[in-house]
């Protein structure tokens, strides 16, 4: 079990309110991702759930029981830190055993769980090494191993992959997703990387300045962002926002169109502009186009074979079914 409920939770450091009153329910077994720009309070929120940070007001309940004043160890949650926070003077085996040792678990059971975790995480050959003798990815796995063996009711991850290189990050992302499929345990995962959020989450919570902007499945957020902030944050490259006469023509203050929902042509189209930088990714090419009224530069996605030169004149046509409209306050209008 691992249902977590936040009820009118707030947090202030001194007289700076970092989290204004916030409500959120995380269902049992759900993979929830907190995503938002740096400094928006993701870590603070996670640490409040973990019990490492006191609430200024409000209430947290875990599995329906009030856990607001429960000490971290008693909440049955396990956390994986961004810095891994492994114990440097203990071997990998002892690191993984530590929570079980603190719980005074039977030695044979400890060994059984260590073996199981080590084989699941490919750590069997490294059990007698110290953390200092491991690579970043291996340390990451040890930190996850230490969390798994406790069989917690929920896992909390604070940007666990941000210290890894790009290739490893993709690999670990898959491993964590697979682990979730296997264990079916609640996971809360903090990241500022929207790709991680999109690929891993059952439910994404988009935060800005401590306020929840939108909660929903990755595709909900992609297809129907409730305001300009979410629209700009989810999706890569960023959505294009067009203001002025063109937006007014659609009866909105601002319209948004994703780069993948614009067709680009050298002969005809609704808007026209000149090619700036073209980023060739092989499969796709992202072209930055200057001179489109109300939006400069505009990013569009073209196929990898589409070749244009800097300064070429191109024509753009948005896909009307995927046009997002926003009012003056930046909120979505249907």
């Amino acid at each position: 079990m691992g249902q977590i409920q936040l009820n009118q939770v707030t947090k202030s450091f001194g007289n700076v309110q970092v989290i204004p009153p916030l409500d959120l329910t995380i269902e049992d077994g759900e993979f929830t991702v907190f995503v938002g720009p740096s400094g928006c309070g993701k870590s603070t929120l996670l640490r409040m759930i973990a019990g490492l940070e006191d609430l200024t007001s409000g209430q947290i309940s875990i599995d329906g029981e009030d856990a607001t004043d429960t000490p971290p160890a008693k909440r049955g949650l396990a956390m994986v830190f961004q810095s891994y926070a492994l114990y440097p003077h203990m071997s990998v085996r002892k690191n993984i055993a530590f929570p079980m040792r603190m719980a005074k678990m039977d030695k044979a059971e400890q060994d059984r769980r260590i073996e199981a975790a080590a084989s699941a995480l490919n750590l069997t050959d490294y059990l007698d090494r110290r953390p200092g003798q491991l690579s970043g990815g291996q340390r990451q796995r040890v930190a996850i191993g230490r969390a798994i063996v406790r069989e917690p009711s929920a896992f909390l991850f604070d940007e666990p992959l941000s210290n890894l290189d790009a290739a490893l990050r993709v690999g670990m992302r898959l491993e964590i997703s697979e682990m979730h499929e296997r264990l079916k345990t609640t996971m809360i995962y903090v990241t500022h990387d929207q790709v991680e959020a999109m690929t891993m989450a059952d439910k994404i919570v988009v935060l800005q300045a401590g306020v929840i902007e939108q909660v929903g499945s990755p595709l909900d957020l992609y297809n129907a962002p409730c305001n300009k902030f979410v629209a700009g944050f989810i999706g890569s490259p960023k959505m294009n926002f067009i203001e002025g006469a063109e937006a007014a023509a659609h009866g909105a203050h601002c319209i948004g169109c994703r780069p993948e929902h614009i067709t680009v042509s050298t002969t005809e189209g609704l808007w026209q502009g000149t090619v700036g930088v073209a980023e060739h990714l092989g499969s796709d090419t992202y072209i930055h186009i200057h001179g489109v009224p109300g939006c400069d530069p505009m990013t569009v996605r073209a196929s990898g074979e589409f070749t244009v030169k800097h300064g070429d004149r191109v024509y753009l046509t948005p896909d009307m079914n995927h046009l997002h409209k926003f009012d003056e306050a930046g909120l979505r209008v249907a």
Binding site: G51, L52, A73, M79, Y87, H89, F98, P99, M102, G132
Partner: protein
């Protein structure tokens, strides 16, 4: 320093310092060795010629030799235990965020700036004096007979005085070490269910291992040659005669330079034995 040229330049530039240091060390060492094989009584005939190992034999066979070695080791050991234990506790305390932290830290470090002679005199006359000392007044206030610290419990008194001087050093080193402890490790262990004492034993103490080693090694070097505190308090009486004090007595009170020099060589040997033991015991903390 990659090239041949920069390496030889570095050697030339280091040379003056190395030569100075070598001279500084070698001259007294060679003089000590030289005199230790001579009968040399400055006020009773001066240099009376070579005597081989006679001084060495006389020094060890004297009834004061082994007690003085023991006294030295007891003082060093006692001070080490007190300063390391209290130093760790004080470092943890000073690391807590509290009001007036800066001032408190300076106050704690202050004893280190007091000269050993001065601090021993202050302790002897202001605290431990059986008539006018602060402790005597305290004892009398509670209706007890004042303790004559330096005659009844001389060793403990000296250990207390020396510990007071060295505690700031230990605290300072351990405080800087504790400040470098990653807070997330403590949080992780808290989430792993470790109560405060276990957090101290499994996280804080191992983290301090290296700093404790440094404290132990440096203090040992200085404490083995402790002198001023004994000179101004007990003058070596009541079983507080350390090896250095014994050497001092041989050279200055008995005016026997040869015998004292032989004692000096024994002191070097003792220091090396202690150093080897220490390196065996704690030296591995310094690698890795």
């Amino acid at each position: 320093m990659a090239t041949q040229h920069s390496r030889s330049a570095a050697r030339i530039m280091l040379a003056p310092a190395v030569i100075l240091l070598l001279g500084w060390m070698l001259v007294p060492l060679i003089m000590t060795l030289f005199f230790s094989f001579k009968k040399y009584l400055p006020l009773r005939g001066g240099d009376l010629g070579w005597v081989g190992f006679e001084n060495y034999v006389r020094f060890v066979t004297s009834s004061s030799f082994w007690p003085s070695v023991l006294t030295t080791l007891v003082i060093v050991g006692g001070v080490l235990v007190i300063t390391v234990v209290l130093g760790v506790l004080l470092a943890i305390l000073l690391n807590q965020p509290m009001w007036g932290q800066g001032v408190v830290r300076i106050l704690v470090i202050a004893p280190f700036f007091v000269m050993p002679t001065v601090s021993a005199l202050v302790w002897k006359n202001m605290f431990m004096d059986p008539v006018n000392g602060l402790f005597a007044h305290l004892w009398k206030f509670f209706g007890a007979t004042p303790v004559e610290w330096l005659t009844q419990v001389p060793m403990s008194s000296i250990i207390v005085i020396v510990s007071w001087q060295w505690l700031p050093f230990a605290t300072l080193i351990l405080l800087t070490a504790i400040q470098s402890l990653d807070g997330e490790q403590l949080e992780a262990s808290e989430m792993d269910g470790a109560p405060p004492l276990a957090r101290f034993a499994f996280i804080v103490l191992p983290h301090l291992g290296r700093a404790i080693t440094v404290v132990v090694l440096i203090q040992t070097i200085f404490l083995l040659s402790i002198f001023a505190e004994i000179f101004v308090t007990t003058q070596g009486a009541f079983g507080t005669k350390t090896l250095t004090y014994l050497i001092y007595q041989r050279v200055l009170e008995s005016q026997n330079v040869g015998l004292g020099s032989a004692g000096g060589v024994y002191a070097i040997i003792l220091a090396n034995i202690v150093a080897i033991f220490l390196m065996r015991m704690v030296g591995k903390n310094l690698d890795a």
